[in-house]
């Protein structure tokens, strides 16, 4: 299992194709925070997102923030939510907007494997609940769109040494979650026989 450093947004698809399920990744550059209501607005209500998502790294988050007098937002506690609820947006995020990476916790079900392979996307697993650490890796909240969805807005964060992340699903059709479930289902048969 290799370790990589990737800067987002990415222009070169090779940056994504070199990543393999199980690899460790640290991220630099800019990432975009997104959540259930943000994606419902984009895809179910058909409203164009006011941020460029091409080559982007999306983080499943609804941050805890403090609004400053000048209208900007200061981080308080930023962590990551469960991804599985939002798996149906994977294909259109890649196909319509050119998103390259989705990061969350808990993994995506197998529905994500095919579109990620076809569109050259990866799923990064972060450690859920490790928000105190994650907050220190977010240098600044640079932009906020759709404030009326607070805290499920579109957020642009500048990050430094964001991670460690694990490649949960790569762009070659491999998913750690699929493999772990397949092994666990086999194991369950053995355990049931022992009960």
């Amino acid at each position: 299992m290799a370790t990589h450093e990737v800067t987002f947004p990415v222009n070169d698809p090779q940056e994504i194709l070199k990543l393999r399920a199980g690899d460790e990744v640290t991220v630099q550059g800019h990432i975009i925070g997104i959540r259930d209501r943000t994606q419902i607005r984009i895809f179910d209500q058909g409203i164009e997102p006011p941020m460029d998502l091409s080559g982007a790294f999306l983080l499943h988050t609804a941050p805890g923030v403090r609004k400053l007098e000048d209208g900007r937002y200061e981080k308080v506690c930023i962590g990551t939510t469960t991804s599985a609820r939002m798996v149906r947006f994977t294909e259109p995020l890649g196909a319509q907007y050119g998103v390259r990476a989705i990061c969350g916790k808990g993994g995506f079900p197998d529905d994500a494997i095919e579109p990620m392979q076809r569109l050259g996307m990866v799923y990064f697993a972060i450690v859920g609940g490790a928000a105190a650490l994650e907050t220190t890796q977010i240098e600044e909240i640079e932009e906020v769109a759709w404030e009326e969805l607070m805290p499920e807005c579109l957020w642009k964060f500048r990050v430094k040494d964001f991670g460690p992340l694990t490649v949960g699903i790569d762009a070659h059709g491999n998913s750690l979650y699929h493999d772990v479930q397949a092994r666990a289902q086999e194991k369950l048969k053995e355990l049931y026989a022992r009960l």
Binding site: G22, T61, G64, V76, A84, G107, G128, G129, A130, A132
Partner: protein
């Protein structure tokens, strides 16, 4: 005079609620820290080790930065044990807990998660219709109040399962349901955590008991030896599933399994599973009738 006592006590309970909510979110209990260290020592998979060392680092950063361990401030759930001679009525205790939850949310500030369940519009600073949730116990021949706060995030609460097994399913049915629930949950509830199981009673009471179980100090055993044995067996079986830290595969899937039980109807065999994430937050306070408050981890 009665009014004055009532007012002082009301504010003491409000202060306690506000303090407990934030304390629980920032500073996880020592028994949990020890269990996470043990887990890191046992785990052999590479992604699993990466997850556990990140968790331990995160707990340290939360201490040093005085930040929340996890951003999900959850739903504030309180359990109150009210002495029959405690001089503040439970209706006022509830109002004080609600006011304390709101104050903590606004002053810290904490992320407010509360929404109307149909419109999904925010209903207030972590409060709303029937929020916070408060469970009550009443204690005869006593004049004190114990308050425990267990804020529970949605990642783990979404992984709650209920099955009305039939008596012929027996203990085997209970074990199978717990195993299939935890395997099915995979990485979603932020493993390794505490698996709370409620057995017996009725459908609603079984889930309540599962929730009680996750709030116990980690690794404590049910006083009923039959139940304690089931806790040990399930703890071992669950760690054979290979789900591992954050569902990425590994040796440590759960930190422990706690079970609470109630006697039930002869034709019922309810099993409820309530998962508690690795950041198993809890904090308690004892309020004396004079309004003095002592903070502690347990009741």
């Amino acid at each position: 005079m009665t009014t004055l006592v009532d007012t002082d006590l009301y504010h003491a309970v409000e202060d306690a609620a506000a303090y407990l909510y934030v304390w629980a979110l920032k500073d996880i209990p020592q028994d949990l820290r020890d269990a996470l260290e043990d887990a890191a020592g046992k785990e052999t998979s590479v992604p699993g080790q990466r997850v556990l060392s990140t968790i331990l680092k995160n707990v340290q950063v939360a201490d040093s930065e005085k930040n929340l361990v996890c951003q999900d401030t959850g739903i504030a759930v309180y359990t109150c044990r009210v002495g029959e001679h405690f001089p503040l009525h439970p209706a006022r205790i509830y109002a004080a807990l609600k006011a304390g939850t709101e104050r903590a949310t606004i002053e810290h500030p904490l992320r407010s998660n509360a929404v109307h369940t149909l419109t999904r519009e925010n209903t207030g600073p972590n409060t709303g219709h029937r929020l916070p949730i408060v469970h009550w116990e009443f204690v005869p021949d006593w004049d004190g109040l114990d308050v425990k706060c267990v804020p529970k995030g949605s990642g783990s609460e979404n992984m709650s399962f209920l099955k009305m097994c039939v008596p012929a399913d027996g203990v085997k049915g209970i074990k199978q349901f717990v195993l299939e629930s935890i395997v099915g949950a995979g990485g979603k509830p932020c493993p390794p955590g505490i698996v709370g199981v409620g057995i017996g009673g009725s459908a609603d009471y079984a889930m309540y008991l599962a929730k009680e179980a996750i709030a116990r100090p980690i690794g404590t055993r049910n006083p009923d030896p039959h139940v304690a044995q089931l806790e040990e067996e399930l703890f071992e079986l669950l760690n054979e599933t290979g789900i591992g830290p954050m569902g990425l595969g590994g040796d440590v899937t759960v930190l422990n399994c706690h079970i609470e039980h109630a006697d039930t109807h002869m034709t019922l065999n309810p099993v409820a599973v309530n998962y508690q994430c690795w950041a198993a937050r809890r904090a308690s306070a004892h309020v004396a009738p004079d309004g003095s408050v002592e903070y502690d981890r347990e009741f």
